[in-house]
Symmetry: C2
Subunit: 275 residues, 2 copies
Amino acid sequence: MVFVEPQLDLQQIGLSHPRVKQVLDIQRNTAPNRHKLFVAEGLWAHNLLLETGAPVECFFWCPEAIYSDEARKRSSEIAARAYRAYRVSPKTMERICERERPDGMVSIAQLPAWDRDELSFGDSALVLVADAVEIPGNLGTLLRSMDAAGADCLVMTNRRTRLTHPKVFKGSQGMCLTMPSVEFDEVEDAAIWLKRNGFSVYLADTDDARNYREVDYRGRVAFVVGSERYGISKAWYAHGFGRVFVPMLGRADSLNVSVSASVLLYEARAQQDRW
Amino acid sequence: MVFVEPQLDLQQIGLSHPRVKQVLDIQRNTAPNRHKLFVAEGLWAHNLLLETGAPVECFFWCPEAIYSDEARKRSSEIAARAYRAYRVSPKTMERICERERPDGMVSIAQLPAWDRDELSFGDSALVLVADAVEIPGNLGTLLRSMDAAGADCLVMTNRRTRLTHPKVFKGSQGMCLTMPSVEFDEVEDAAIWLKRNGFSVYLADTDDARNYREVDYRGRVAFVVGSERYGISKAWYAHGFGRVFVPMLGRADSLNVSVSASVLLYEARAQQDRW
């Protein structure tokens, strides 16, 4: 079989082009980002963009940096899907890329926006509330664990880190594209939304709490986990929600937030018997 | 109450001093490190050195950079414990420190060495085998989870990352100092050691495996987890050990290794009913 190089005829742009600057801004994660744009790098991330149908704002293509046949093929598909597509030099590609060897493909893409009022849940459901979680890598690992445990939705309150942070995309293995997530400015509104949707809510806390193995998680269950340093914010304690703790039997005083959330999610999932 | 500044009269050294170079070498994690030396920074890490009695090879003290009264007090205690102690300038302190504001304290300390033949286990015991785990942060989080779950020992085979890596110390919250760990050059020897100590061994694998909730973990149990990219190495499959899997119900094909290990450890621990 003869492999035919796809003929992409794209305008070449350089480091001073506004779109190139935009990539760097998104990676720095400093400027406002109302459209929830993030940067996807390499073949694996682009396959995920194609699978999930995420909108691609801008595709940067560097044929000299492509090393896999699959990337050559996908380049045409992504270019066809993107609102804009440009060719860049290997040097520019290296500048806009955080990873090494991105296989000639970088894109600015858009995270989906979920409407909290349109999400629907089954008789059994699992929601995780991340309250003021600070470290992007932790939020990423949380999303990856939620995906694995078959959770239904991430709720964010007192948001400290953005889902568009490069480390969230990596840590979640791109699951920020597929795991529904909604954000509330006020804890109060999140609590009302959970109650209205029939969720039993449990705060992960060690004080005045029950061992997480001794609770019945059938039905719709939401766990609230808090910031790495300060725990769950006060406002969550005003609603009479239950509290559960994961026993800590050693010398350190805490578990990594994504670890404790995963232990809780898997316990609930096993009880809900949905596997 | 009048606070009396401890009077430490230490020789001042600069960037070109061999001990300063040694700190940088250990942090770079490139040179051989037979004596298992690692770098401890700041008050929290030094409190842990004092609590655990870890040998302190060299203490670097910068009184101008101290901002807490407790650090002032601990400085004298650490200096008294250290084989060597020097004063350094704020500029030198900044160079040898990875974190910001180390509270005037940096040390080269030694990880304990555990003798595999002298470790003893109770009727119920939990061991985690990390086979070829590559990412230091993952190994650190593993150790932190092992501490929390009250595990007894970390076994390393096909070691790819060192326990002295700065990210292991941080990720484990210093639990690499207290959680016993032993290393085997050959998987064969680790398998024999586990059998001789009466452990039921389970490989964490998705192929031909049982759901992790359907296994009886009473007694002495060891879980084997593998590298982030390649899983468990072949040699582990030659011993007829059982296999367990944590169900993955989503789109991504794997869980973070420290997350899946934690889910397994907590399940076993709950069954062993040791809390």
